[in-house]
Structure formats: structure tokens, C-alpha cells
């Protein structure tokens, strides 16, 4: 114990501090869960909104192509296609790595290893606005593949992958690097291209791509001819359930001024795992069916407002203690909760635009229903849920479309017999 002879009254003050009443009204567990769920979906939704703009803009960008050997323009439909960048005219005089002093005639070797790149000073373009005060830009010194604004910074830059290709078609290869600046729950990934001057100085060619349009994360890069192919995802972040994100390889090529998409799909199709489910139901009127018991029917209407078919809707119904469902749907589990019973049911697939009514016959002792406050039922509907109660990386359900979460739960009263 610390000595406290100089502060004898402190213990009383601490006791008073901790023993008083509540400090503030809690926002509630549901609010905390809501924020966690919102975070999962924000990126996906933002990407979906922007996808249309990209579709419209990409052909215009492709039209500015100025090299004599234009790669194929990007597909204008979201159907994944095989990227077809042109590489047939690439000069074959690739410099050997052993050439350390390029002659005046030879283009400088722009192949920079991941280790070299990660232990030098690079010119990095600005990060998006929300990351500017956390991710260094301009002249940034890297050490062991990472860079930070300050040692205790929340976010840091990491060079995760490096590939080499003759991006500017000068006969020597340049370097494309997958770089991200990220911290807890948040981050941006981008692909940058680097070259060398004859003086051996590393120079930044430019940004190949980042989180533009519907790109929520970049998972990998590879060289393909004079293009760099980028594996992009439509969803990212903590809580995105396994199997949810879609991925595509998109190709980007140097136009002489900057990088433009030159192959692969230009947009993601709608994510087949996002659809708008809803649930509704009214109060349950119980009627006596014996000396002490009463029965009623909880009628729940589950709707799929689209746009996708929900393959495995998952219904959860919470009932107070001693109120039971006497006939359950085919695939259900029952568990105890602190306040009663939880029924978890996997329902048949529901097509977009379809409704389904679930009638749950209830039974309860009349004494349970007659309290001063009416007892309540509470039900939620989601899908893609694989079975764990509160969810983790594997068990979370698929997210709802933006703003469509409000109708995924319903509640009502359990009214005693008159």
C-alpha cells in the first residue's frame, strides 16, 4: 500500500466517488453494437455510391490515352474480364541487373527492391484529407519498410509488395509498390510507381491507383507486360465477414502523364450479399386455454426488399421467461438468456421482393403476463449468419444496405387475457 499519512482524507473522497449513483445514463449495449455494425458497412456503401461515377468517367479517361500503343480500354461493364494490356511492342533490350552504371544511351534501371524502397527517402503524394494529419507525405524517410509521422503515431505507412515492369516502355523496368497507411480499424492502400534517374536517385512516377471509386482496399499487385495489375476489393475493414468482399484484378498503364486504367473491369457488380431484409409484427393477444395458462400467436412478417436473394435468413426471437413457442420452424435452436428464452431459426431462402409470414404459437402462465409492465417479444432478422451468438470474424451476418438497418428488428407486447 502506498503511504497515505499526508493524505488521510483521500480514501473517503474515493469511496464517496465510487459509491454514489450512476454518473450518466448509458447509451446502451445496442448503441455500441449499432456503431460496430455501421463501421462494417460504411466502406461498402460509400463504394457503391461512387461506382456509377466511375463507370461514367472511365471511358473519358481512356480517351486521353496518348501512347502509340494504347492498351485495351477498360471494360465498361462490371463483368470481370481478363485484362489485355498491350505488351507486344515492348523493346526486348531489358537491362541486366548487373549493369550498375548505365551509359548515357541506356535508360536507367528502375528496378528497386522492396528492401531498398523500404530504407530510403521517397516522395509520396498527399493522402486523402482524413488521413493527412496521420500519414506522412512529401519527402518521407522509410526504415525497415515503414514510416510514421511520429513514433507514437496512430497510423503508419508500410510497403507490402513490390513488382517490376517496363511501365513507361523505355526498355528498362520500373517499380510499382503496394503501400498502405493504416492503423486500428482504418487505413488506405495505394499503388505507387517509382523509377530511377541516371544519377541513381529514386523518383516517384506517380499514383497508380488508390481507394478511388468503388475500391475499398488493395490486396495485391502483379506485373503484366507494361501494366501493373492491381487486385482490388469492394469491402474492407474490421468486421467484414469472411467471404463477403468481392475482388477483381484491374490493370493500370502509364499514359506519359499519369496512370490510367487499361484493363480489367472498371466497377464491381452489386455485392450479392447485400440485400434489405425487414421484419414486423404486432402485439400478441393471449387467451386462456386452461386454469393457469394462456396461448397466443406471434405473427412475424419477414420481407426481402431486394436487390438480392437472401439464401439463409436468420430469425432471432427473444421471449420473457416462461413464455414458450410451442411449435418451432424446422431449423431452430433454443437457448436461455438472463431474461428468458432465445429462439434462433434459419428460415428458407427469400427471393428479392418476397414476403414470408412466420406464425409462432406461444404459451405462457397467465401469472407471467399480468405484470404492471406488459411483457414484450423482440425479434431480429439478418442473413449470412453462420452461427455464433454475438459474431466474430466468421460469424457476423452480411450487412444491410445503407440506412436499411432500422427495420431489421421489431418488438411488441404480450397482452394478458382480458
Amino acid at each position: 500500500m502506498p503511504e497515505n499519512n499526508n493524505t488521510p482524507h483521500l480514501d473517503n473522497i474515493f469511496t464517496a466517488y465510487t459509491s454514489g449513483g450512476p454518473l450518466a445514463t448509458p447509451a446502451g449495449a445496442a448503441a455500441a453494437q449499432h456503431v460496430a455494425r455501421r463501421r462494417r458497412t460504411t466502406r461498402i456503401v460509400a463504394a457503391g455510391v461512387l461506382a456509377i461515377a466511375v463507370l461514367a468517367a472511365t471511358p473519358a479517361i481512356a480517351a486521353t490515352w496518348t501512347t502509340p500503343n494504347p492498351p485495351a480500354p477498360p471494360a465498361d461493364t462490371p463483368t470481370p474480364t481478363t485484362p489485355t494490356p498491350s505488351n507486344s511492342t515492348t523493346p526486348t533490350a531489358t537491362p541486366s541487373p548487373s549493369v550498375t552504371t548505365p551509359t548515357a544511351a541506356a535508360p536507367p534501371d528502375g528496378r528497386i527492391s522492396k528492401e531498398q524502397l523500404g530504407n530510403t527517402t521517397l516522395d509520396l503524394p498527399e493522402w486523402p484529407e482524413y488521413l493527412k494529419e496521420h500519414c506522412p507525405a512529401g519527402r518521407v524517410k522509410f526504415s525497415d519498410g515503414t514510416a510514421q509521422l511520429a513514433p507514437e503515431s496512430e497510423l503508419r505507412i508500410t510497403i507490402s509488395e513490390v513488382v517490376h515492369a517496363d511501365l513507361d516502355q523505355d526498355g528498362a523496368k520500373e517499380t510499382a509498390a503496394l503501400i498502405n497507411c493504416s492503423g486500428i480499424e482504418l487505413g488506405e492502400s495505394r499503388v505507387l510507381a517509382f523509377d530511377r534517374y541516371a544519377s541513381d536517385t529514386i523518383v516517384t512516377m506517380g499514383l497508380v491507383t488508390g481507394h478511388t471509386g468503388d475500391i475499398a482496399w488493395i490486396r495485391g499487385i502483379r506485373a503484366k507486360g507494361t501494366a501493373v495489375e492491381v487486385e482490388v476489393l469492394d469491402a474492407a475493414g474490421e468486421g467484414v465477414v469472411a467471404g463477403f468482399a468481392q475482388s477483381q484484378w484491374r490493370a493500370y498503364s502509364w499514359s506519359g502523364k499519369g496512370f490510367v486504367q487499361s484493363g480489367g473491369p472498371s466497377a464491381f457488380p452489386p455485392n450479392p450479399r447485400v440485400t434489405d431484409l425487414s421484419i414486423s409484427g404486432g402485439d400478441v393477444q393471449f387467451v386462456p386455454d386452461g386454469a393457469d395458462t394462456a396461448t397466443g400467436t406471434l405473427r412475424l412478417t419477414i420481407s426481402n426488399q431486394g436487390p438480392q436473394r437472401a439464401t439463409d435468413p436468420y430469425l432471432r426471437v427473444d421471449l420473457p421467461a416462461k413464455v414458450t413457442i410451442t411449435s418451432l420452424p424446422a431449423k431452430c435452436e433454443t437457448s436461455k438468456t438472463p431474461s428468458g428464452t432465445r429462439y434462433r431459426c434459419w428460415l428458407p431462402a427469400l427471393a428479392a421482393g418476397a414476403d414470408s409470414v412466420v406464425n409462432l404459437p406461444l404459451s405462457a402462465p397467465q401469472s407471467v403476463l399480468g405484470g404492471a409492465q406488459p411483457s414484450q417479444w423482440y425479434a431480429t432478422i439478418v442473413w449470412g449468419f453462420t452461427g455464433t451468438e454475438t459474431g466474430d470474424g466468421e460469424g457476423w451476418p452480411y450487412p444491410e444496405p445503407d440506412g436499411a438497418e432500422g427495420d431489421n428488428s421489431a418488438k411488441g407486447n404480450l397482452l394478458p387475457a382480458p
Binding site: 465510487t18 454518473l23 448509458p26 447509451a27 493504416s182 486500428i184 469491402a235 469472411a242 475482388s247 457476423w396
Partner: protein, 187 residues
Amino acid sequence: MTVSMPGPGDTREEPPPTVAEDTGSVVDSFEEFYAATFQPLLLQLYAYTADIDHAHDAVQEAFSRAWPRWNKLVHYDHPAAWIRTVAMNVTRSRWRRLRAARAHARFRHDDTTEGPSPDRVALAHALATLPEKQRRAIVLFHIADLSITEIATQEATTTGTVKSWLHRGRAALATALSDPGTEETNA
């Protein structure tokens, strides 16, 4: 596929878990855990920050982060310690504070609370005058009820250092509380 982000989703801010033996007992629900631990955690965070809104948002933020991991956290010896550490970390970074406020401020029930009592305000404000380590030690020892050994483990230091923080912190706190500038109560 689960997206592998080197940063997001990593756990470097989180305390190492201490896994309890599975006793086969009924697992508490997240809601029940929240109901039981919110007020004590809020008191600890308010003492640590002297700002009721920051404290509230930080605790909510920690619960939000706990929920996706609840299946793991529930097996820890002290899941509330995880929440407290995450919440304290949230308050220590301006960026995380802003992020937590953006996420959680609209869920606060500001209209239904009177705010902290004058006694509590006085203690929190006096604590706010202490150096961070001393304040943290005092909050953990006197309000979160951790032992000196537990604090030393959590802060990766020796019990002697913790005792020294507590000793100096208590002295400074006594001074701050008797300073007319911060004395707001007749307790």
C-alpha cells in the same frame, strides 16, 4: 475472404488476454456484461479524463470494439479490464477521441442526466492536474480497485514504480484538492 489489413484489425492497442479455464458455466450475454460494467467503467474514465462526454464516448467505443470479439473476450478473466484499457487508449489520442465522438455522441442521453455531482467534478478536476502516469495509477488503484501488482503488470513496470506514482500522485492530489482554485465542495 476476410480482408487482411496490417493495420486495421490489428490488436496492438489491446491488452494481452488472460484466458480463464473454461468452467462450463453459462456465458454472460454482451448486454448483461454491458449493464454490469458500464457505470464502474464510466466512473474510472471520468476520473481519468475529467470530461464526462469524452469518458462516455470512450467507454462506448471500447464496447463497440468488444462486441465483434465478444466470443473471445467472454473467456477472459477480466473482460472489463480489456474495455478499460481500450477506453483509456481512446482518450489518449485526439484522433481516436474525435472518432469516438463522431460515432457515439448522438447516442448519449445528455438530456436525461444532471451531470456529475460537485464532489465528483472536484475529484476529476484535481486528478486532471496530475501527470498522466500518476493519474492513471491513482485511477486504477483507488477507483478501478486494481492491486499494485496488477497495475505494475498492466503498465509493464515494477511494483516499486507504481508505489512511487501512487505516493507522489496522492500528495499532488491532496494539494490540488485543498487548492482554493479547485476546491468546489465542502466534503
